[in-house]
């Protein structure tokens, strides 16, 4: 690979200004309430500096270091999901007319252009899976409009958390596809590569310097080292047959004793797409809003059908989550639904680790 050009750290603001001039709202990592969250970014100085993240099952803590780096954290709870698949939105509205007839309005709105800075490889892989779901068989106009307006600037990950296993799923820590621009972070600035025509055009306007080959090698080595540091893994291969052969495994009941059935794992999962829809009539009796919101296979409504909630207990709900995410996703989307971001592990209030559950369920205990 030819050595990419270099953007000195103090010129990051130039990137933000170019994007703003092009009409984008910039969104980037900022610290709020003890976590790294994607929020509107007006100034490069709003980016965290030297903030790292410690994650373990059921635990997430920020750590301030002396490092000058802006992207020295693994991830926060959000991923890109809320930017394309809204947590709660109006789909259409029905209105009663004076003559007793009904009219319906589509609620698709023009999305604003959004440029996200600091996207992780795992989240790009997750976005690609959500695109398969929302854009292929029956394109979702709400998702499509927001996705069309998104410009993605990846930063290759050099600081994975203990909960990360993207190297194992093959989705990170280096972003290989799905971005417009990508940045390799060093203490003094960023090596910049383009991943799309829009990224090429942006790159050509940045105040870049020629990149030093030796320092670029060091930056790449950091990303490789980030892969080597990851210790979690999944049982290898397609788990569909293994999981469906073990629907009666006692481990489902054991995990249900710990699982709160709260759905946090599915809400922070960047690939989970389940939602519920509801009718919200207003008090005048002449207008009703049809809305959708994120739902979860851990909610009673998810398996409610014709007066019956099919999955009443937590064991069956937990089994649904894992057998779908790691099993039947293969038939539906050609791969597992897991990109190794580890959010389900860190953000589970009781610290359940699906990688541990999958090993327990799918790995045969060898007779000794």
């Amino acid at each position: 690979m030819e050595t990419p050009a270099f953007l000195p750290a103090d010129r990051l603001q130039a990137l933000l200004e170019l994007l703003t001039d092009d009409g984008y709202r910039c969104v980037g990592p900022r610290i709020r309430d003890g976590a790294v969250l994607y929020q509107t970014l007006d100034d490069a100085d709003q980016l965290p500096r030297g903030v790292q993240v410690q994650q373990s099952p059921g635990r997430y803590r920020l750590e301030q270091t002396d490092s000058p780096r802006r992207f020295a954290w693994a991830n926060g709870p959000q991923a890109l999901k809320p930017l394309t698949f809204a947590p709660h939105e109006e789909l259409w509205v029905g209105e009663l007319q004076a003559d007793g007839s009904l009219i319906f309005h589509d609620a698709v709105r023009q999305a604003e252009p959004v440029a996200v800075i600091g996207v992780r490889a795992c989240d790009l892989a997750a976005l690609s899976l959500q695109e398969q779901h929302f854009l292929q068989a029956a394109p979702d106009p709400y998702f499509r409009e927001r996705r069309r307006q998104l410009l993605l600037i990846a930063v290759h990950c050099t600081h994975p958390s203990d909960t990360c296993f993207c190297a194992h799923t093959g989705d990170g820590p280096e972003a290989r596809t799905g971005f417009d621009l990508s940045l390799y972070e060093t203490d003094t600035g960023y090596f910049v590569t383009a991943g799309s025509p829009a990224g090429e055009r942006l790159l050509a306007r940045l105040p870049l310097e020629p990149g030093d080959a030796g320092r670029f090698d060091t930056a790449c080595d950091e990303v490789h080292a980030a892969a080597a540091r990851q210790t979690r893994d999944l049982p290898t291969g397609n788990l569909q047959a293994d999981l469906f052969a073990r629907l009666d495994h006692p481990r489902w009941q054991e995990v249900a004793e710990r699982c709160l059935s709260c759905g946090n794992c599915t809400q922070v999962c960047p690939t989970c797409f389940c939602h519920s829809e509801q009718e919200v009539p207003d008090i005048s009796g002449t207008r009703s809003s049809h809305q959708r919101q994120w739902d979860s296979c851990f909610s009673p409504g998810h398996s409610y059908i014709h007066g019956i909630t099919l999955r009443q207990d937590t064991a069956s709900r937990y089994r649904q989550w894992l057998t779908h995410k790691f099993g039947s996703w293969h038939s539906q989307y050609g791969r597992s639904g897991c990109v190794g971001c580890g959010r389900c592990i860190a953000w589970c209030p009781v610290g359940i680790d699906p990688t541990e559950e999958l090993h327990a369920i799918c790995t045969e205990v060898k007779a000794t």
């Binding site: 709020r32 309430d33 003890g34 976590a35 969250l37 059921g58 635990r59 997430y60 803590r61 709870p77 959000q78 809320p82 947590p87 709660h88 004793e257 710990r258 699982c259 709160l260 059935s261 709260c262 759905g263 946090n264 809400q267 922070v268 509801q278 919200v280 009539p281 207003d282 008090i283 005048s284 009796g285 009703s288 919101q293 994120w294 739902d295 979860s296 909610s299 009673p300 409504g301 009443q312 207990d313 937590t314 860190a346 953000w347 209030p349 009781v350």
Partner: protein, 271 residues
């Protein structure tokens, strides 16, 4: 001749309570005007309408059953209402006053507090409305909010059953993109076992849910109590998390008593 009033009629009844849930009506703002165009309010003391025995389509009932008189009165309310909706923690679970159910000290407290206890007629246990009469729909919360109330009333007026929100607070917390206070700060949040409906209000202000909306569907209180212990809470503190506003709701009641008995047995072994 004046046209007959075909609007459905409603009543708002108060039992043992702080009156706060009735404010969900009065705080509706412009929607209150829209509501009064669609329904005829027959009885609502807090709004100055006094006709407790009026036959109505929907009776909203706030408060718990805490006196012998209230037992007789709830039966009359039930008999005069087509549809009965209990509103708020007192009506759905007995509320704060059900804390007295935990110890058989009702008489001792009464005698200690009132100068002439012979004039006080209260029941030893505060009970939810559904303990005594059939309740068609329950709105949980302490207090309930106008959004919940409006959704239920709008659904009933449209002729469909209101949606029973039994999901956990966590789902709403994540939808509103709040950061989990348990995972980032180790706070003992009851969100994972508590019914949604509040809009994850407490976590949005950085505090842990204290369960004022009562138990959610399928609440795993045993696991959450173990987690609280892992976060450093002693059994007595865990018991107090569960035995608060909804102490008489079965799932919280049971979890609270288990923690309390663990605390007592630890206390004994320490002696």
């Amino acid at each position: 001749m004046k046209a007959p009033d075909l609007r459905p009629s409603i009543a708002v009844h108060k039992f043992s309570s702080c009156d706060g849930c009735q404010l969900a009506f009065l705080n509706l703002g412009e929607d209150l005007l829209a509501l009064t165009q669609r329904v005829r309010i027959r009885h609502f003391l807090e709004a100055g309408l006094d006709d407790p025995d009026a036959e109505v389509d929907i009776a909203f009932v706030e408060g718990s059953l805490s006196t012998p008189d209230e037992i007789a009165r709830i039966r009359r309310v039930r008999a005069s209402a087509r549809y009965l909706v209990s509103i708020g923690a007192c009506a759905t679970a007995g509320g704060l006053q059900a804390l007295r159910n935990l110890d058989d000290t009702h008489d001792a407290w009464r005698d200690a507090i009132y100068a002439s206890p012979e004039f006080i007629a209260t029941l030893a246990h505060a009970r939810p409305i559904a303990d005594e009469v059939r309740v068609d729909f329950e709105l949980w919360g302490c207090p309930i909010n106008s959004r919940q109330l409006l959704a239920a009333v709008s659904a009933l007026l449209a002729g469909v059953p209101p949606i029973d929100q039994r999901d956990k607070v966590c789902l709403e917390c994540k939808r509103t993109q709040q950061v989990c206070v348990m995972v980032t700060e180790g706070k003992p949040c009851l969100g994972p076992v508590t019914r949604t409906g509040c809009g994850a209000l407490c976590p949005a202000f950085g505090r842990d849910c204290y369960g004022c909306y009562g138990p959610a569907d399928n609440p795993n209180t045993a696991s959450l109590a173990r987690r609280f212990a892992g976060l450093g809470l002693l059994p007595d503190a865990i018991a107090r998390r569960f035995l608060m506003i909804n102490s008489a709701a079965p799932a919280f009641h049971e979890a609270g008593l288990i923690a309390r008995s663990q605390g007592e047995s630890q206390g004994e072994s320490d002696e």
